[in-house]
């Protein structure tokens, strides 16, 4: 009990509320659906959370510095095509696995070039890229699904290491790496300083361009890693792969207590936000709500959380001149 108390005291109020919300909806869905509270369904929820968690970690970094990437889901889609093509060409699964993060990092570099060098607001710059990448996916796939991919990658990531699948270790490692970068290196401080005020960060001698580039590349790389897991799980890639992930990720990260305006973030909050969102989506499906409504729930949740933060005085868009528009 004491250990539990100590663990709880490490969480902020926001994170405790999220944890409580996860418990409450789990109980509610369990009583409404006989299938919900089964080990198989728990595994499904975990499985469905993997890509969102990885992309959410990157999105947390981006939001922390006052950035955003609405094209990140499609970046995962493009990276998934690269991994799928590599597998289809009978490349070694280990190599195919690396191609995901590599493609993602490369696309992150493109995003950074557009947004940082072009000095365009990230939300607009990445919206432009979203449009371009969507058609790129269509063209690359030639209007057809990439399916029936070899099982090599799936088997490799399913291999046990100390009784736990390799995929779990890789995700834990990714979380640890992002946490260390954010909380234990100058990069994390600089990211938060830029999120607070780019001008002040510059006056403090921070190389703003370098830090912003690094954040976009890391975020792209995590989306690429998500692509590797996606292909390993589903062994197919289609036109709409990843198309709702940017919305899901922004909603989960904002739910977790990261400020949409930058300067404040929580990685634990992101994990809880991802879980809450995926439990909610899974439960709604099981009690018979059509999947069409999922994005309605996610979008509504995002708007509701932001409105509550504005009402609570934690967030103000007025200095951006957005309030009156």
């Amino acid at each position: 009990m004491r250990r539990l108390n100590r663990a709880m005291s490490m969480l902020t109020g926001r994170e405790l509320i999220l944890l409580a919300a996860c418990v409450v909806i789990t109980i509610a869905f369990a009583s409404a659906s006989p299938v919900f509270a089964t080990p198989e369904n728990a595994a499904t929820i975990m499985r469905n959370s993997v890509e969102l968690l990885l992309i959410g970690l990157g999105m947390t970094l981006l939001l922390a510095m006052g950035g955003i990437d609405v094209s990140i889901g499609v970046v995962m889609g493009l990276s998934a095509i690269a991994v799928g093509r590599a597998l289809g060409a009978d490349l070694d699964p280990a190599l195919a696995a690396v191609i995901g993060p590599l493609t993602g990092a490369l696309l992150g570099l493109v995003t950074a070039a557009v947004v940082v060098l072009g000095r365009i607001p990230a939300i607009v710059g990445t919206l432009g890229l979203l449009g371009i990448y969507r058609t790129a996916i269509f063209v690359v796939l030639g209007g057809q699904w990439l399916s029936g991919l070899p099982t090599g990658l799936t088997e490799m990531l399913g291999t046990g290491l100390a009784g736990v699948p390799l995929s779990f270790w890789m995700i834990a490692l990714a979380y640890l790496a992002v946490w260390l970068a954010l909380r234990r290196t100058p990069f994390g401080l600089h990211l938060l300083a830029i999120g607070n005020s780019e001008e002040k960060a510059r006056l403090s001698g921070i190389s703003v361009i370098k830090v912003r580039f690094a954040a976009f590349v890391i975020s792209g790389m995590l989306a690429g890693l998500a692509a590797t897991f996606y292909v390993a799980t589903y062994r197919n890639v289609e036109m709409s792969t990843g198309s709702t992930l940017a919305l899901d990720a922004i909603a989960a990260v904002v739910l977790g207590g990261t400020s949409i305006l930058g300067g404040r973030c929580s990685l634990v909050g992101t994990v809880l936000g991802v879980l809450l969102l995926r439990i909610l989506q899974n439960g709604l499906l099981l009690i018979g709500v059509p999947s069409l409504w999922q994005t309605v729930v996610t979008g509504g949740l995002l708007i509701a959380v932001l409105s509550l933060e504005v009402l609570a005085g934690r967030l103000s868009f007025s200095k951006l001149g957005w309030a009156s528009r």
């Binding site: 234990r184 290196t185 401080l189 006056l203 921070i206 300067g263 404040r264």
Partner: protein, 256 residues
């Protein structure tokens, strides 16, 4: 008083056809607080921007510790030991005091090529600095956003000290502060000077200036019109110099 840390000779600054500064000579000594006074547009802000490396002078020369220097940016000035604390303090409210003091030049330790922060050492050093300055801030881990205006000035001063600044330039450090806070910042400025730092201070508050400055320089219409030791002048004289009512200034302006 020791020898001059910084000597400015014949400094002029023109923006297109507008002359903001002309022919300013000034010496700044280690361990002294020098106040720059003058009406709005008198040229004192332009002058400190030249010293801070934010504006290159159109004419004239700056010597630091006897060596001629030319600053292309505030970074160059910082490398010569000149730190500027602007009115809108460049502090990150979401970061802690110690993070702010070290921001941009953190103490690091490389593990497998990854630069990890040496948080404990940074915290310790900042706690020492705060104690030395008698800043009355107990926790170097407190976020700067939770501090009062005066405490933020202390953090900015800590940052300057930690950069090994030998000359600290402060633009209206007490402008937005309550009375008790103002007293604290003035005491801090004296402390800086006692440590052997030279301090250049812009202020509109004559009583603050008389409390803290050793020497006062009055600017008027882009020129230095007077220089007084505190012991040799009165607030009335300084006000007359600033407004141009003083006979010395009249004579000077007639001569031009």
């Amino acid at each position: 008083m020791s020898e001059a840390f910084l000597i400015a000779k014949g400094i002029a600054k023109r923006f297109g056809g507008l002359t903001a500064l002309s022919d300013v000579d000034l010496e700044i000594r280690a361990g002294e607080v020098l106040a720059l006074l003058g009406d709005n547009g008198a040229g004192k802000s332009t002058f400190i921007k030249v010293l801070a490396g934010a504006h290159p002078p159109s004419e004239g020369q700056i010597l630091v510790a006897g060596q001629p220097v030319s600053f292309a940016s505030p970074k160059d000035a910082a490398a010569s030991g000149i730190a500027t604390i602007f009115q809108e303090l460049a502090l990150s409210e979401n970061l802690s005091i110690s993070e702010n003091v070290y921001l941009g030049r953190e103490l690091k330790q490389s593990v497998l090529g990854v630069p990890f922060l040496r948080r404990k050492e940074m915290k310790q050093r900042v706690a020492e600095l705060l104690k030395e300055l008698d800043a009355h801030i107990s926790d170097p881990e407190a976020p700067v956003g939770s501090l009062s205006g005066g405490q933020r000035q202390s953090v900015a001063i800590c940052r300057a000290l930690n950069l090994n600044a030998k000359l600290v330039i402060m633009d209206e450090p007490t402008a937005a502060l309550a009375v008790a806070e103002t007293r604290k910042v003035l005491a801090l400025i004296r402390k800086l000077a006692e440590r052997g730092c030279a301090v250049v201070l812009i202020s509109h508050n004559i009583s603050d200036v008389f409390e803290v400055a050793d020497r006062m320089v009055v600017f008027r219409r882009g020129r230095k019109v007077a220089e007084r030791l505190r012991a040799e002048t009165e607030p009335e004289e300084i006000v007359a110099l600033i407004t141009g009512a003083h006979p010395d200034v009249r004579a000077l302006e007639k001569a031009q």
